[in-house]
Symmetry: C3
Subunit: 398 residues, 3 copies
């Protein structure tokens, strides 16, 4: 489906111009490798039901519906090991995992006629970094590495600890949440991970620019405050939160985009927060030794799987990284911190929006994705961008 | 939305010409006051999601959706006590409870631009008789007292004991149930409250007329029987029910509309059973010292809250009234008697109706409401009344 | 509704040209007789809600909705025993079970006017073979016996043990499953009932022809194999299943359509597997002494009740038949064997099909039913048959 077709009607309803079921023609993580055992397994990606199965060291992905009479192939069995095939449970139609073609109709005998239409769509599939990845789209697959950020694809210099969580909302709401929209200093100020730190800077002047490789945007932050007096209301952070705000606004809050952080000086990392196509947030630390790569994977219109890759630069102490994750990060960040987002994002009632200065990153992401998402591209992407109504944006200052 | 627009298509489908989500521009009870504590609370009235919150002794009601990015305001917090504001959990947009206007965007700093559109709809709200009342509509609110019957608004001469119950059906079916349609002598004849009384008179000649204040209708009942022989069937009440019908048809059954009841003679109460706009049934006793005021409050198209105000004339023994309610009425009437209605009304399958002589009150109520409901009134109310097809009414004799 | 109207749009969506809610103007089993006691009972047949009730030895079936105000009559009561009536719970409208006409409005008195439209649709109903049967349609009922196969209608020579099971799928998928489509040798090869038998023959050359009485089709099977080598895959049945395939392909597998079976020689039974209108599969044994008659009864579009009549020829040992059923067939066939079908059929995702040589029986059934189903018949059945697109059938060889 052409992108512009998918957008028709959507923009007005949700205020979001990107396709409801996700950007096609990209690789997406489909399942943790260890969860795919000897039995075929059904998953849903971008609204498509897909059966995954292993045969020896090969992994296959086919449309999860037998073209004969409609039974899910995931109910079937790999009846002939080493042949790379899966056999439908109903009448024994047998499909080649690589091409999707029917290679036998067991109940019709070896001489059965097999028309070319007797085939299930085959999806390009790869196992990498502990996950099964599937390319969902309508064009030939690109190499998987083309779609991965370097810190995820380069297993020599980086290692990863990954987990995932199911969000009961559309993927776009989660993507907006991870587009550097300054919700963190407010929503997460009560998170155990941040509670004894000074508050993040807010009221910053943000902007975003395309990455050099054209695969996403990098967010730039200037200025900002840690506290202010609001007429008629009082101070923010509010006085009743003072007891755990005893630290001065130093630490992380101070370090946003400092030109002299190790990330910049030692590793030349230009952006602390990036959004990558198709639907990825890549967020680093000042040390330059850690990124969290959050792959927002649309299952269907109201279900999204957030794959969360914690990426550590290999410095000879992988075990320490693992312990740190196990005893602190998994609990404080991947669980408690992120579930504050989950709670809010799942409750959003889609409808008209009123984007504001904090949403510069959100608007920049939407525009970038709309314009640069892999083909099939909207025939008239200019028209589609215009669908983000200018009067809906309150001086976003991009 | 104009009333006539709302009716389009409805009449044919349900046989009921009133708007599916209730009559707008009236006050409705929203929640018992003691259930609204220090945390904001989300309710639904006439299909609209509304957040209620208290700040000191003020109560506020706003549309429960932040115009910024769509998060329910009921997830937020009253971060600045005494300011009468509520703050959205996501980015700290703060709204004035009285006007609905955004007064601060906490994450953008005190100098953030706030366009006029940055506002949530504010609903007029009052606390009265132990309940929070909200005016749902499109015009300036009338005084609450305008919408209350005297026995509810006059707290000097009357006191109330109220409860409520959720009905899983459209409000119109419940309103029909309470429009003096003579279901009582049949459906409730087995209710513990009535079982040892003589049966109510039925086959009465009913009519209805507008109240003097134009706020509803009063039902008039003439004649009636307590028992009859039906050819081919037998006697009603049927013989197998005789053992608990040993009492002669006296008592209440005899007392319907007697000109010499205390209600009439002492207090000048003209009607024993009234229906008031927007969706209220007011039913009295011959003593003139008690009314049940049942406020049928549409939540959404298939959920209705029945607020039940038991109204006692203050005669110096409120405590006796309370004990009587606690040990008898709450059980025998508010629970067992009313749940016979609940069971039947929730099971109704909407569709064509065949109104009959017993439904004179139902038809009169619908016509009255259609013609007299507060503006915005149908531009051509005559046409809308005509939507109640005459051939659908079997000699209703109004 | 005319058959061709019902088919519009359906064929393309599901690949199945028969009406979604079942073939009208036939008798269907509605409930086991012992489950209908003294209280009225609501059932759903072909999408229609029906109330069944007994009065003495008469059984009645009416549309389960009071025409007055829409309350289900099944909430009512048979207030006047021996009168054959049911009375609505709400206002006491009383309906004659045989004609459906309102005979009294109890709350309006014996002299109430009762217009002809005050009636609930009455369904022809019969009790037979332990079940309540209802004729659902728009024409006068045919005699029940016209719609039953002889082995079910002739209680002198046959006796039956029946049970039923609810399938959460459309009736057409279950009918396809029982139209001799050769799924048995594949899907059921692991069933306990068949596991120690030689495998059924498959890759047979099938055809189907109309029965002499025009009430269905009989399936004819020629040739077939029990095992074969598939290039690139291996042998079917696969070697890993060899340990329980130690028996030679004799026994049942050998006996398909033998001209010298008792069924043929002794009883002149022409077909082992038949499909009868409206939606019945009749499957016999070579002995000619047993049939399973499976009545596929559409409740609504996604719910189907499979009534399963095990029919035994009376040979003086009914008790032995019952014990055999109780200790073996009920478990091995009616439960384990049939639930393999249930599991698969309920999982089917409707959509385009690719019928093949094994589906000769399926296509033949659809064409026969479309052409021969009882009136109202499609005005242009030829056009409707054409809706089964020829290019969708891969050389079905009928």
């Amino acid at each position: 489906m052409a992108l512009d077709k998918m957008l028709a009607g959507e923009a007005e309803r949700t205020g979001n111009v990107l396709p409801e079921l996700g950007l096609r023609n990209y690789w997406y993580p489909a399942i943790a490798g260890w969860r795919l055992g000897r039995r075929p397994r059904s998953i849903t990606l971008l609204g498509e039901r897909i059966v995954l199965f292993r045969d020896g060291d090969k992994t296959h992905a086919l449309a999860d519906r037998c073209p004969h009479r409609g039974v899910p192939l995931s109910m079937g069995k790999c009846l002939y090991p080493q042949s790379g095939t899966i056999t439908c449970r109903y009448h024994g139609w047998t499909f080649d995992g690589a091409s999707g073609k029917c290679v036998a109709k067991l109940m019709e005998g070896p001489d059965a006629a097999i028309p070319p239409r007797a085939a299930a769509k085959a999806y390009p599939v790869r196992e990498f970094a502990g996950f099964v990845w599937v390319f969902v789209g309508d064009m030939p697959a690109v190499p998987l590495e083309d779609d991965l950020p370097e810190c995820l694809s380069n297993r020599v210099h980086w290692h990863s600890i990954a987990n995932w969580r199911t969000y009961h909302c559309n993927w776009r709401l989660l993507m907006d949440n991870l587009a550097h929209d300054q919700h963190a200093p407010f929503l997460h100020r009560t998170s155990p991970e941040l509670i004894f730190q000074p508050i993040f800077k807010h009221a910053t002047r943000n902007s975003a620019e395309a990455l050099d490789d054209g695969k996403g945007i990098g967010h730039i932050t200037r200025g900002g405050i840690s506290s202010a007096e609001y007429p008629g209301l009082g101070r923010f952070p509010p006085p009743q939160e003072a007891w755990y705000r005893i630290l001065k606004p130093v630490g992380r809050g101070k370090e946003i985009d400092p030109g002299d952080s190790p990330a910049t000086v030692k590793y030349g990392i230009k952006y602390r927060h990036m959004n990558l196509l198709p639907s990825v947030a890549l967020i680093g630390r000042p040390s330059g030794d850690f990124f969290t790569c959050r792959w927002i994977t649309p299952a269907d219109a109201t279900t999204t799987i957030l794959y969360n890759f914690n990426l550590f630069r290999r410095r000879g102490h992988d075990t320490i990284d693992r312990l740190k994750w196990l005893f602190w990060m998994s609990w404080a960040h991947d669980w408690l911190f992120s579930d504050q987002d989950k709670w809010v994002v799942e409750a959003i009632r889609p409808g008209p929006e009123l984007l504001s200065r904090t949403d510069v990153g959100v608007a920049a992401w939407r525009r970038f994705a709309l314009k640069n998402a892999r083909c099939p591209r909207p025939s008239d992407s200019h028209g589609a961008v215009a669908a983000l109504p200018p009067e809906n944006v309150d001086s976003i200052g991009v």
